[in-house]
């Protein structure tokens, strides 16, 4: 095991290499630029290719091309670039091309604040493209070390499910320096629960079975298998067809291959102080969860029965984690409230769900502890000017 004091971007690069990624195409954007830079340094050393694209749309399409040629590929960006992935993301979903996409959230909309953390793409990662009729898989780490783990995991899931998998981070995790351990052999990878799935080649002639099966090898071109892939509704052989029934079969596969095999990744969550039916459950993901965990520990020491639920697997949304009849507080790095809507939907009917939103910075311990206390005492929450959104 090698230890480094390095950034999340470094950890993601090393994770990708461990997972077998040998192709990265990207477009410089704060705060994912350092990831592209790290890839440009490290990939050639490992026999891999780094390419800079003319825009994010081209970057992800180039990754699709490399993946279709049999390589494990990855791209990374922030919100304004993620929106340009809309086109290729849909194509990769439809053609079932394994890829990994990293989105390091900053403050939006549009260019917004480039060097500050935000969580404005919670829903965008669920619906990254047009048309619907698909599920996405999204993993959200909260540390540099976990960035590495989730990158490895994303590559693993991308291969097994034949689809793009998104890692949703934020500026603080990708730019921040932390203690990072990089495994040096298979044994150490196993110790860290890193799973790797090799690229396989579909031999055809049926490339798109209308079933929810996983572990079907993806389409790889150049092996004279007669492989076909396109942006149209595919027949099982990959021919384009304009027929609702065929499309329904295809959509069934895109939705249910994920829904029916969630057990493969639904263990990616973290609970703290949750074993004694807490009066208040604080829900978060990514960087704010680190302050939430500290605040919940402090609240416990003050006698408040508060627990913390951190989501790592964001999509498909883990409804099963929200069975407790309790009060909930959702803490997010945005002012409009995104995760909170999903929590409101998932909790038992008579649960009260509150929201604490801050963007561009982390919530303070004071903000969190005051809010916990108010909710437990049934005191009303209110907005503090433009600074803090609470309801």
């Amino acid at each position: 095991m090698k230890r480094f004091l390095e950034t999340g971007n470094f950890a993601i690069t090393e994770g990708a290499i461990l997972a077998g990624c040998r192709f990265f195409a990207g477009y410089p954007i704060t705060p994912a630029t350092e990831l592209a830079e790290a890839m440009s340094l490290r990939l050639p050393q490992e026999g891999g290719v780094y390419l800079q694209a003319e825009d994010e749309c081209a970057a992800m399409h180039m990754c699709i091309g490399a993946a279709l040629g049999g390589m494990k590929a990855m791209t990374a960006t922030s919100g304004p670039g993620f929106i340009l992935y809309a086109d290729p993301y849909g194509w990769a979903i439809g053609c079932e091309t394994p890829l990994v996409v990293l989105n390091s959230g900053r403050v939006g909309p549009v260019s917004g604040i480039t060097g500050a953390p935000g969580q404005g793409e919670f829903y965008l990662t669920r619906y990254p493209t047009q048309g619907g009729n698909f599920e996405t898989i999204v993993l959200a780490p909260n540390s540099a070390q976990e960035c590495m783990a989730m990158t490895v995991e994303a590559f693993y899931l991308a291969e097994r499910f034949r689809m793009p998998v998104t890692v949703l981070a934020d500026q603080l995790i990708t730019d921040g320096f932390e203690d990072i351990s990089v495994p040096e052999n298979d044994g150490e990878m196993k110790e860290m629960s890193f799973r790797v799935w090799p690229r396989k080649i579909n031999q055809g002639p049926k490339f798109y079975p209308p079933s929810d099966e996983i572990d079907i090898a993806p389409v790889v071109l150049g092996h004279n298998t007669g492989a076909l892939c396109s942006d149209w509704t595919p027949t099982e052989e990959g021919y384009d067809i304009e027929e609702v029934e065929a499309h329904h079969k295809h959509a069934y596969r895109l939705i249910y291959k994920v829904r029916n095999h969630r057990d493969l990744f639904s263990h990616h969550y973290d609970k703290k102080f949750m074993s004694d039916d807490p009066d208040l459950i604080v829900v978060s993901f990514g960087t704010p969860s680190r302050v939430v965990n500290s605040a919940v520990a402090k609240a416990r020491s003050q006698g408040l029965k508060v627990g913390a639920l951190r989501l790592i697997n964001l999509w498909p949304f883990p409804d099963e984690l929200f069975t407790a009849r309790s009060k909930y507080l959702v803490v997010e790095l945005n002012w409009d409230g995104q995760l909170v809507r999903e929590v409101q939907r998932a909790v038992p009917k008579d649960s009260k769900v509150h929201f604490l939103g801050i963007c561009g910075d982390l919530p303070t311990m004071h903000d969190l502890l005051t809010t916990f206390e108010k909710i437990i005492k049934n005191e009303p929450l209110s907005r503090r000017g433009w600074e803090l959104e609470a309801w």
């Binding site: 694209a53 003319e54 091309g65 490399a66 071109l221 492989a227």
Partner: protein
């Protein structure tokens, strides 16, 4: 050398997609045959070529026609996909892209320019039906000046990539393409010879091939779906390079040939990766 279409079809194309579902009288099949015949004359097999297409008439009608491996990209992005694929494919595999004018010169022009810049080994056949015909017939970036289309009912009056002395080839040459040519689909065997050269260039090649669309373009501009009229109209407005007349829109022939003069993209990428691995520098 003349080939029967049936021989080419049985050797190279999938019976499920040939004949295509193109409109009656569509000229795309002529372009398609020119490309397949060039492949045959070069002695290439099904396994030697990965066939990519775009969307629109040219993309959809040629997708999955090739017996070997094939793909259709999102609108205008196939040149970016092809660059990624080029890196991953063995160098001896040929990458042929049959695309439309809207795809290459409209939505995909940025990606096309960057494919030319990088000199990635691919042969792009731009099948130009003079506008957006699969959506019913709107003007595009090579629609001749003054043409009436569904979105230019008074005549197409904007500056265009193929009018007033402008030629899209200038852009591509400036960007670094190493083989550029133009033929109309009636050029037949002359076009076959050109496409052969395009395929043999280990770098970025593009052949621009205007073809007749009787259904939409001709019905609006010429007021007739009679295919003879549009075939004659295109032929009359084409002339070999150097023999252009006043009303020539398309100067045909090899426009620029710098085949194998610049290092090819994927070769350069892999050579560089190899050098960095061995020496730590380039």
């Amino acid at each position: 050398m003349e080939y029967k279409a049936s021989e080419l079809i049985s050797k190279y194309l999938r019976s499920r997609k040939i004949p295509s579902t193109a409109c009656s009288g569509c000229g795309l099949g002529m372009n398609h045959k020119i490309v397949v015949q060039a492949i045959q004359e070069l002695g290439l097999g099904v396994e030697d070529i990965i066939w990519g297409t775009s969307i629109g008439c040219a993309g959809r009608q040629t997708f999955a026609t090739w017996k070997g491996d094939g793909f259709a990209g999102t609108h205008g992005r196939v040149y970016a996909i092809a660059r990624g694929l080029r890196v991953a494919l063995p160098p001896e595999k040929h990458l042929i892209l049959t695309v439309g004018d809207g795809d290459a010169f409209g939505i995909g022009l940025t990606h096309l320019i960057h494919a030319a810049r990088s000199n990635a080994n691919m042969t792009v056949i731009v099948n130009d039906n003079l506008g957006y015909q699969s959506t019913g017939g709107q003007y595009g970036w090579t629609t001749p000046q003054g043409s009436k289309t569904d979105s230019s009912p008074y005549g197409m009056f904007e500056h265009n990539l193929m009018s007033e002395g402008l030629d899209v080839m200038h852009i591509l040459k400036g960007a670094g393409a190493t083989f550029l040519a133009r033929h109309v689909s009636m050029d037949g065997l002359k076009a076959v010879e050109t496409v052969k050269k395009a395929i043999l260039n280990r770098g970025f090649s593009l052949v621009h091939m205007p073809y007749p669309c009787p259904t939409n373009f001709a019905s609006r501009e010429l007021g007739s779906r009679n295919q003879v009229n549009i075939y004659r109209w295109i032929k009359d407005h084409a002339a070999p390079l150097g023999q252009e007349k006043e009303d020539t829109i398309w100067a045909t022939g090899i426009w620029y040939d710098a085949s194998n003069s610049r290092p090819e993209f994927s070769q350069m990428v892999w050579d560089t990766v190899d050098k960095i691995r061995r020496t730590g520098k380039i």
